[in-house]
């Protein structure tokens, strides 16, 4: 099995004091890897650094073995990495359809990709012309994930998709991730505070604490350790 993403000795932060310290992380192709940790552990900071919104002060990020240090943020999605940010990032002023198209404007097959997302998320198909700010939390999360899928990514970074959602919807989203992985070989790096949900679909996971990786092991071991089952 090869690794789609490799992170080595990553250090990053917002000012003088680093938030992320010496992060090592390997994401095997076609797997679902979850990143767990308390509020402020540095999970969002890690994803933001992976997609170039924050520049690391040390360390390496390799996507398919390619160093991302000099790659512009807006190029990454073309390299196959899509990032659904914390809070979802639905553009409130644009319609559902415009939000989705925005996910793959550079693609020749953007219309086909958008149509596939409507098949995947029925409720969105009924709200094509609605502005983003009129959607419910669940619909927003569908739109954010759907929009990322329009890019036909190989690696999907998700920042707390379950936040503010009913358990039923969270379960649907987790099931969808599993289905996509099986059907299309999508790799997912899933940041979650909801360990139970994340571990129900993940193959392996890491626990972050104070900007470091405290534990890195299989999902089964994490379930045993944290969920007592």
């Amino acid at each position: 099995m090869t690794e789609i993403l490799q992170v080595r000795g990553l250090v990053a932060g917002y000012g003088a004091a680093p938030v992320l310290r010496d992060i090592d992380l390997t994401v095997p192709t076609g797997s679902i890897v979850t990143v767990l940790g308390a509020n402020g552990a540095g999970k969002t900071t890690l994803l933001r650094t992976l997609s170039g919104l924050l520049r690391p002060t040390a360390g390496q990020i390799l996507l398919d073995g390619k160093d991302l240090r000099r790659v512009k943020v807006e190029r990454l999605v073309r390299l196959g990495m899509a990032h659904v940010p914390e809070g979802r990032g639905v553009v409130a002023e644009l319609t559902v359809d415009e939000n989705l198209r925005l996910g793959g404007l550079w693609r020749n097959d953007v219309n086909a990709a958008v149509a596939e997302v409507y098949e995947l998320f029925e409720p969105l198909a009924q709200r094509k012309r609605n502005a983003g700010h009129l959607l419910s939390g669940g619909e927003r999360q569908m739109l954010a994930i759907g929009r990322a899928l329009v890019a036909r990514p190989r690696l999907l970074l998700l920042d707390e998709p379950s936040l503010g959602l009913a358990p039923k919807i969270t379960a649907q989203i987790m099931a969808l991730l599993q289905k996509l992985r099986t059907q299309t070989g999508l790799t997912v790096l899933l940041v979650e505070q909801n360990a139970r949900s994340a571990l129900s679909v993940a193959d392996s996971g890491v626990v972050m604490s104070l900007g470091r990786i405290a534990t890195a092991t299989t999902a089964q071991e994490l379930r045993n350790a944290y969920l007592g089952s």
Binding site: S51, L53, V73, E74, R75, L76, V77, R78, A82, H83, P85, G87, R88, G89, V90, V91, A92, E93, L94, E98, R101, L102, G103, G104, L105, W106, A131, H133, R147, A151
Partner: protein, 292 residues
Amino acid sequence: MDRFVFLTFDGLSNGAVYAAFALALVLIWRAARVVNFAQGAMAVAAAYAAYSVTQATGSYWIGFAAALGTGLMIGALVERAVMRFVGHANPLNEVIVALGLVLFIQAVLGMLYGNEFLPSHTPFSRNAIEVGGVPLLSRYDLFVFGAVAALVLLLALLFTKTSTGLRMRAAAFAPEVSRLLGVNVGGMLTLGWALASAVGALAAMLVIPTELGLNPHAMDLVFVTSFTAAVIGGLDSPPGAVTGGMAVGLILSYVSGYLGSSVTPIAVLALLLIVLLVRPGGLFSATVARQA
């Protein structure tokens, strides 16, 4: 009654120019949250380029095209070389830099062309066509309406029907998310400035021949008037800018027609003050509460 009809058409013709210039202000406001106080000076610079080209080629239309092209370039240059480096920590920063640009551009134009008024011609007659004995509109007025209507239509198509328009809107509303989705946000900002500056140049080309002629300060009053129109329209709304421009054009035409043209500058200021006091958000403001 004849006089009222004449003033109405004259007001609408000027209003079309104010609408175009207000649109340019709105374009930059939407893209960058900056009121471009240098827009008048930038537009005049483009009009001077047109003057030189027309002098050299003898063709109004080549000069006209040169004004639009120069407008695009000046806009891109101002964004790339100046505005990009101004910190956003304090909203005054951009205003101060823009005012500095005004002084700079006007000084350079003065050195190159002198400060006296240069003659500026229209491509069509400005004699009003009479309908039933009442002078209504000149051929030039029709040209102005046509040009502004075409502009409004093209901008509407650009923003609502094209991928580039969608990218520009997304980049303005949500720059970080747009970058994650593959949008070159910096490029969209440059494009926004270039477009707005070309629109400003168009307005300058339309209005300068109807006033005293070409001069580094030729757009000063038009700027204040159009700024008023843009504020009336809410600063954020292109339809608001067009409606505001037409309304201001009409009001000023009646003021100058019935009270005298010396009152117009004061009327502009009074109008601006009233709008800022009564409805600072503008009459068309439709700000969507931002949610995550």
